[in-house]
Symmetry: C2
Subunit: 401 residues, 2 copies
Amino acid sequence: MPSISARSQAAPASPIRRLYPLAVEAKRKGKKVYHLNIGQPDIPTPEAFMRGIREAKIAVLDYAPSPGIPEALEAARAYYAELGFPLSSENILITIGGSEAITFALTVTCDPGDQVLVPEPFYPNYLGYARLTNVEILPLTTFREEGFHLPPRQEIEARLTRGTKAILFSNPANPTGVVYTERELDMLVDLALKYDLFLIADEVYREFVYEGRHKSLLSYPEAADRVILVDSISKRLSACGARIGMLISRNREVMAAAYKCATIRLSAPTFEQLGFVAFMRDPQRHAVVAQMIEEYRIRREVFCEELRRIPGVTFRKPEGAFYVMFGLPVQDSEDFIRWMLTEYPGQETVMFAPGAGFYATPGRGHDEVRGAYVLNVEDLRRACAILADGLALYTAALARR
Amino acid sequence: MPSISARSQAAPASPIRRLYPLAVEAKRKGKKVYHLNIGQPDIPTPEAFMRGIREAKIAVLDYAPSPGIPEALEAARAYYAELGFPLSSENILITIGGSEAITFALTVTCDPGDQVLVPEPFYPNYLGYARLTNVEILPLTTFREEGFHLPPRQEIEARLTRGTKAILFSNPANPTGVVYTERELDMLVDLALKYDLFLIADEVYREFVYEGRHKSLLSYPEAADRVILVDSISKRLSACGARIGMLISRNREVMAAAYKCATIRLSAPTFEQLGFVAFMRDPQRHAVVAQMIEEYRIRREVFCEELRRIPGVTFRKPEGAFYVMFGLPVQDSEDFIRWMLTEYPGQETVMFAPGAGFYATPGRGHDEVRGAYVLNVEDLRRACAILADGLALYTAALARR
């Protein structure tokens, strides 16, 4: 039998996927599982988006233009213009989710063997996109005690190599919730200029900021030809299944190359582009987003407050997104989550994402988990109570092992 | 400024995209352009598909399961079962168009620098997928005079190298319309077994067969672990913009690797999966497809009949798909098409896809074009009359140059 490729063997199988069957089994036995493990909002997708799909007038569902249908490009342009960033539609590609935008960005900036510096912990699929495109991730470790903010400039410079082509980061960040300060972003821009690097900025959580102010990398005219922005409607429209994202750059060469990537895969799905267009034409859309962000603001307060009461749980309150990456008084958080799904005695249990899956550096994150506050306040409180109880029982059970 | 990657520079910009602005300009000047250049059917998308989208009941548009929603996997399973191929849903992945299925197949079977043998002329995006995944295409030239059927076994064997991991082909084929005989397929299977190769079979035109019989590579149990099938609803449902395709294999290792590729890009678009499910539940669906195929059968007759009357046009009537790759009495078919769009004096003109874009071997195809019979019979006759007139005028104009 012919063997499969090394790159597909090297692609990560997420640890969370090892745990999922246990959650399914727990539910089969009648247990309720509070899923704080996944970045899937529970907020209803806006009606305007759904209406745009339902009311689409299409006789022949033909290929959409590869860079996006003109109305969707115009909707994206209008969105950035409102944020204060005047772009032309030539600076924008509609992609199949933020996922495709990241794959395009890595493909366009790197050849096989090239490296991308990524602050860790990071969104685990970054490693997947990188492995499948034969790009190497250079992790830049950040720490819970520092709220996962960036290390000093010299430490970043020390990590860079000749083969480093870009710095990839999310801001606000998944899984840490960190929102980088203006000083941190100034430093990244400075490094990109000094070392001739691209900056791939994943800003899909742009609106999810509760403290301080989010600064987009589009704010740096001096880095206009270095910045590749990755964006998506998944989170801000609670439409993860739409698969509508964007790649933005003011670098013409980058856009020409990304445009080729887009033509080769033909088009992004038409109906969901029309949903996005309809949402952007809804006069209520700002209120819809503001109300959603307010809900997350409240959830964050409750979640952090409840976590803080649990003995041994450590974290710094994050500024944005809808995640908290927190420390647990255990040695192996994946083992703890497995125990919660299989041995915890209650009729309800809780699931988090094990921390190690967010690090590329071996040995890191084993005492951490990521919690996503994507449930209502009452469920969040209940989930934290279960976590507290579970930790006490697990620790006692370990002592008896 | 940092430079973009070599692979994105090497990715092909389709010659047809150089010609498009000329077609747009011609239309701006009031000319009618008959587009026989693109594989975009004009047949309305079935109502059942559209209803499945319109009537979807979704409150939160969350990520669909990465391998496909269970109902879509079941619909695909039922489709293959009807064809006589019993598969389990573990053998099927719903992909974002056939495009993604091919990218997954190349990623799973090849590492950078590995080679894939492809009969040429071939679908130009194959070169795009290959360049972006750093796979090398070894073209295996086939000839118009032989109806683009495969060369003898020894010629194929002579092309294989140590780095050849797979043979990729479409059947029925784009752009040639060839449908491989059982003997040709037997030979490919035999070669795959002897040389330990994967067979990546793009069968998206499976239903579009007008002469002889299409044999799927799923018919070969002895090659079950070599075959990766690429499929799509784009053509048979006239739903190119749906971006719903499939990757099928009975090789567990391949499916596990492809599954990882799928989880990394999260999910295929939900609404279009539901459209596919609704179509597959429609009792009228066989009649809908049969009627469409009948329409193409008539168009093929008319198109071939009309082409045959044009002096200097040469081809063998193809057995399937909806293309004819034919020879023209010109030295540079791209120049001829450019002339038709810019200098042809009529109020109407016609556009074909230049032949060279379908070949990887330099110098091939310059006297050929691909015509797609995706227009109604009357328009096809008119387009051929314009072609005949244009050829006469172009030849005369060239003589004066």
